[in-house]
Symmetry: C2
Subunit: 168 residues, 2 copies
């Protein structure tokens, strides 16, 4: 069946061509813009940016996480994170509690107000994701996740997997 591009041989030949790979690269670029567009719009009205969104997301995801842990998840420097964290704490969106076991540590939690913002940001982002999932269907979604997971750096993949199954 040499004419059917979906045949085994056709698949194995075509999906790794430079042309296919380049389309994948451009798809990532354009899709990521869409992915961040809705939260960005919400944040633009406040004095926050994408960095605040990321911090809020992962604090919500791992309540009580330490600054150090957040640092390695986000992959930024401590100074960068600290600037963001300081404004979030000052504005009463995030609470920093001295560690009970180890008093050097600070455990981060969202306040009610912080959880509200997290909710509105993730609602917006999930709405788009849901529409994309629905349009593409469950088989496509499984493939989407597989490729993304294979694309991650080893270290980030570890963080992703650690978060992955909590509460699933």
């Amino acid at each position: 069946m040499p004419d059917n591009p979906m045949s085994q041989s056709g698949q194995s030949l075509l999906f790794l061509t430079d042309e296919q790979l380049r389309k994948g690269i451009e798809a990532m670029f354009f899709a990521y813009r869409g992915f961040t567009a809705d939260p960005d719009r919400i944040l633009a009205d406040m004095e926050y940016g994408r960095a605040h969104h990321r911090a809020i997301h992962f604090i919500h995801r791992s309540p009580g996480t330490t600054v150090n842990n957040l640092l390695s998840i986000l992959g930024v420097t401590k100074q960068s994170l600290n600037r963001v964290l300081r404004t979030l704490i000052e504005d009463g969106l995030v609470e920093s509690r001295v560690g009970k076991e180890d008093k050097r540590e600070r455990h981060l939690h969202l306040t009610i107000k912080g959880a509200e913002l997290e909710r509105s940001l993730s609602d917006a982002q999930r709405d788009r994701m849901r529409a994309a999932y629905r349009a593409a269907g469950p088989v496509a979604v499984a493939g989407f996740r597989q490729v993304l997971e294979a694309m991650m750096d080893h270290d980030l993949r570890r963080h992703y997997d650690t978060l992955k199954d909590r509460g699933a």
Copy 2:
């Protein structure tokens, strides 16, 4: 077959849960970091950044494109693009030719030197993409593209489609 998560009913119930959507969001976040990591490493050694990479990519992709067209593809202001473009032109990676029909326009082309950098950047990025594609397989790749395409903003999707099939 109520126990098989891959059954029709299981699929249609599970792939749109908030939990599934949140995992997709995190997969996008971590995968995008991997996606840009290799070109970023190359660029860090020079005095360029990700913005230069994007400009070079799309000039390579659409030789002779105007500044205005590039602007709407990249979705930045013309001042932002101009700064990047100016350094690329000064360094002899990009050539800007006054339009023949409309002298207000500037048509952009990569020089030999520019094409060499483009090559090394896209080689690095394609290598990672190829490994991910190979690991996930052709069916997953098709799904990956479907979900990403459904996630794009309408305007960006138009640009993506316009680029999509040239030379494929």
